[in-house]
């Protein structure tokens, strides 16, 4: 690959990475559950786009598979499975109260982003021969932090699930820049987990909704036996 083509690929990947961060932030701040789901799909599309760019740049068919698998599982299967498992009425919900207000969560997210950059730096020095790691590694790490943070601060079941999933996407986003020749079977195995996890959590959310009349799992602090 020529120097110029690599330059363009890096530029496109940087652009996609910025979108990835913006959509991740969106998942943290959106109150409507349907909005959270849409943002997650966009987030997954950004991941898939980055994988395509890297597949092209490294001339790696494996990364092409990653892009395809990510697209089919996260952008197509997860929304369908969730809608089927959790029921559509759950998406009409919106979060009325947060653990933290949205401006505060945003500032903390900015802090987390800084931490991700700082944390990624020593890792980057360990792998100087990976031209895309400089973009993907901090971004992926940031998305993992965002996901963890979402799980902590959001009270709605669907939002917490999206937090888990963007953590997973973040891990993928970082790893595709480092490992470009993982065997496809491992990719498939990792990717199939995602819809299954969504299915299980979706069914759980539906049951919680049926029993307690709400999906605010953050409020369920005490387990109580029913007689």
């Amino acid at each position: 690959m020529t120097e110029h083509a690599l330059e363009i690929a890096r530029a496109v990947d940087g652009f996609v990475a910025a979108l990835f961060v913006v959509f991740g932030l969106g998942v943290i701040v959106t109150r409507q559950m349907l909005g959270t789901l849409y943002l997650f799909v966009l987030h997954a599309l950004a991941l898939s786009a980055s994988a395509s760019v890297l597949a092209f740049a490294y001339a790696s068919p494996h990364l092409g598979w990653v892009a395809l698998i990510t697209f089919s599982t996260k952008a197509v299967a997860v929304p369908l499975v969730l809608r089927w498992a959790a029921g559509s009425e759950i998406y009409q919900r919106r979060e009325v109260d947060q653990v933290l207000t949205i401006p505060v969560s945003l500032l903390i997210a900015a802090g987390l982003a800084l931490v991700a950059w700082v944390a990624a730096n020593p890792l980057l020095q360990a792998i100087p021969d990976r031209p895309f790691a400089g973009i993907n590694l901090p971004t992926g790490l940031m998305s993992m932090f965002f996901g963890a943070f979402t799980v902590v601060v959001r009270r709605e079941g669907v939002a917490q699930l999206m937090g888990l999933l963007i953590m997973e996407s973040g891990a993928f986003f970082a790893s595709i820049s480092i490992v470009s020749n993982l065997s496809v079977i491992a990719e498939v195995a990792a990717a199939v987990d995602v819809p299954i996890a969504s299915l299980v959590i979706g069914l759980l959310i539906r049951n919680i909704h049926r029993v307690t009349g709400t999906t605010r799992v953050g409020a369920l602090a005490v387990l109580r036996e029913r007689h």
């Binding site: 530029a11 940087g14 990475a17 913006v22 932030l25 409507q32 500032l107």
Partner: protein, 320 residues
Amino acid sequence: MSPIATHLLINLIQVGFLLVFAPLVEGVLRRLEEIIQGKHGPSIFQPYHDIFKLFGKDEVVSEETTWVFRFAPLINFVMPIFVVLLIPALTAYPLFFAFMGDMVAVGFLMAIGGFFVALAAMDTGNVYGPVGASRTRMVGFLAEPVFMTVFFSVSYVANSTIPYIVNATWAASWASMLQPAHLLVLVAFLMLILADEGRIPVDSAAGKTEIAMIGYSKSLEYSGASAALMKWAGAMKLMVLSIVFLNVLLTPWGLAATRQWADVFLAIPKVLAKIFLFVIVLAVIETSLAKLRLFRISEFLAAAFVICLFAMGVRLVGIA
């Protein structure tokens, strides 16, 4: 013709471009919104008819008002015209006034207009005016730090705050357009335009219930020529912000590169086409997003602020 005279003349053409097409941009935006909402809507030339009609009407001015009320429409009308002299509206090369002020000056000039309109709204003693004024100020207080951060991010990325130089920096290559910092600044600035133009918050900009108004209620007391000026100024402000967004940040192409008249006049349809495309996006965003409660605006703008911080952070850490 000497270069200075040519530049002055092009500057005047820019002003004419703004004056003539601003009502059309607003008309198109309003028509599109009505179409998306499933209504027929007024003609796209309706703002011209409104302005023309209002200029022919008598003016009623309350005895309680002071000079502020009389002068506010003029100041509000003149400020977008000043701004268009500073920004690359039609040409990619700097014109006569290009180095008189930078993007901070653009924000400052816009703020003067807003300040006088808010004062005039309170001057009338009408109850709805001060409500609108205080709401606009509230949005303003939240939006201005974001404005400043956007400008700092832009100047940090492009190494200048002069709009022409920023335009040239982005137009230089595709790679610079795709910079993550650039994208983040764009997102933040778009959110800012939405909030500042009253497009997202509480009620629709064309809303006619006084209690839910933000911008419109400030000009309720005006009639006749002053009302026409206020209307025209509102349309021009939208167009100027779109020009800054499009020509400086998003799509720095399609501007005249030479001093030939054909080139300059050819830039007019190109820039208009860009503005109309942007107006379509604006109409879709405005009609498809749920309106926010008044006190949620702080969250909306906080998101824009943090995205700006990201833009600076990305640049600072040196990603791409």
